[in-house]
């Protein structure tokens, strides 16, 4: 039996126009809404698969504002059984702070007998893209860590993980407990059922207050790349534009194989 902890982060959606807060310290998500990184969608799917295959449970955790309960409920709706909100002012947090906050929860749960054989995270967060939390967490917990992993299988006290390397598929083996950072692409996240959503609403979310003074992220300010004025040349409308398109492809030297 392997109990799995899967860590997610509430991040702005990626389907609309990006705006920044007036103080240039954060993304203003008013037009894009909130979601989790695609890597984390896959991590949640893998967490529920491993838990189900081994007779364990999957617990979802996030470090963030009280509003991040929305993302915890989404994970509960697709198979996680328990949820932990580490409430924190994450605008002041860097990757080392997030990793330390997660490690504190893992240790606290271990102290009362809730031991996670596997901790899953996304490779990096869709907003900050630090690529450090999984590794900092693993080192804090003194556990081995793999990143950019597509699929995992647990057999007894060992883990087999698959990922894509420069020369093809790579297979890793690790003893448990371990930390694994997941890259999108190995599994298709499931959609929540109505039943799943109803069940998720009833789960009591454990709330912890992060009480460490953060070391911070080093952020000075955010900016948006200057938007270039559109200089698009419209070649035409509909199928009638085909000759103009092929003329262009010929000029660019790519019309022949």
């Amino acid at each position: 039996m392997t109990d799995v902890l899967v860590c997610i982060k509430r991040v702005p959606g990626s389907s609309g126009q990006l705006l920044l807060s007036a103080d240039e310290q954060s993304v203003d998500a008013r037009h894009v809404g909130w979601t989790v990184s695609p890597h984390e969608d896959c991590a949640v799917e893998l967490a529920t698969q491993v838990a189900s295959a081994t007779g364990g449970t999957a617990t979802v955790l996030t470090v963030g504002s009280a509003d991040a309960v929305e993302q915890l409920r989404d994970a509960l709706a697709v198979g996680c059984a328990a949820a932990v909100l580490v409430e924190a002012d994450t605008e002041r947090f860097g990757p080392a702070d997030v990793a330390a906050a997660i490690a504190d929860v893992v240790r606290a749960h271990e102290a009362v007998g809730r031991v996670y054989g596997l901790v899953l995270l996304g490779n990096d967060a869709a907003d900050t893209g630090d690529f450090q939390v999984p590794i900092r967490l693993a080192y804090a917990l003194e556990r081995p860590v793999l990143t950019s992993i597509s699929t995992v299988e647990v057999a007894g006290e060992r883990l087999e993980a698959h990922g894509d390397g420069p020369e093809g598929e790579e297979v890793f083996e690790l003893p448990l407990p371990a930390v694994v950072a997941v890259l999108e692409g190995g599994v298709l996240p499931r959609y929540p059922s109505v039943m799943g959503r109803m069940k998720a609403k009833k789960v009591q979310v454990e709330t912890v207050i992060a009480d460490r003074e953060p070391v911070g992220s080093g952020r000075v300010r955010l900016s948006l790349p200057p938007e270039q004025p559109s200089q698009v040349e419209v070649l035409g409308h509909g199928a009638d534009a085909a000759p103009a398109v092929v003329d262009l492809l010929e000029r660019l030297g790519v019309a022949s194989r």
Binding site: S15, T147, F172, L222
Partner: protein, 324 residues
Amino acid sequence: MIVVLVEIEQGNATVVSREALTFARDLARGPVHAVVVGGSEVGPVVLAELAEQGVAQVHHATDEWLSTYAGAAWAALLVDVAQSVDARVVLAAGTPRGMDVLARVAVRTGAPMAANVVGVESVDPYVVVRQVVGGSALEQMRLDGDLAVLSVAGHACEPVAVAEPTTPDVTVVSPALSDADLLGRVVRTGDKAVDESAAITSARVVVGAGRGAGSADGFKDVLALADLLGGALGVSRVVTSLGWRPHHEQVGQTGSRISPDVYIPCGISGAIQHWAGCQSAKTILAINSDPDAPMVTRAHYAVVGDLHEIVPAINDELRRRRRG
């Protein structure tokens, strides 16, 4: 002093590693040290590529234990080299391996790390500019301390050769490794085809398709266009999320980052997720029914209308001209 991890693929320093070397050279204004892992010797091709990048010294790890990838062991090596030359910066391309190794270096040394760096504004202390939100925003970030760990965003700069190539010294290095350093080692390679995403990252032409394809059966015409142009098919995330096409064809923040000569996105709106992966294309020809879609307004050229009418017409025109 700057130490750069150089990744080798099929007997060459990777393009992104050579980009990282150019970036390091501009930043260092002095000798750049390269770290190469694996093989019994640094081949003449790689050595010439490093010389063209102005590398002063190559630190080559030949240990059998390092011949297959092990992130912690590679990090131990980089830390050893960085300490031996009193480096101020450890740097690598922002590849999965580069990021994996650098994050471990940061933890082992207590140094701050910045991922996906595109520029450096000052060096004392280091203030860098890096991509966040998939390149849709930039973060100015300060790194305090004696050592800074930086990954360079792909295509942040072109690899530029120095006017007079150097003659790098090659030193064999062998880090002291613990059992823990070798725990996450690749134990074997799997059956899956070699790097399936290579087709879209190396193609001169990529034809893109999004939700506008309509269904898993809606890719026949875009595939035919890609084939006629000797290119590859790239798709948006919604397409892979719906299971219509495999993930290795996905272009975007969590898919492949492409930089073809020509990108032809068909029925792709140009959301943040997708734009992050295709913005380095040299020419973009958008085909879209919405003339105000971000992909259209950011493109160099556009055709407005239904891709299911336009793409077959382009295919017919290409075939007609080839028949002469």
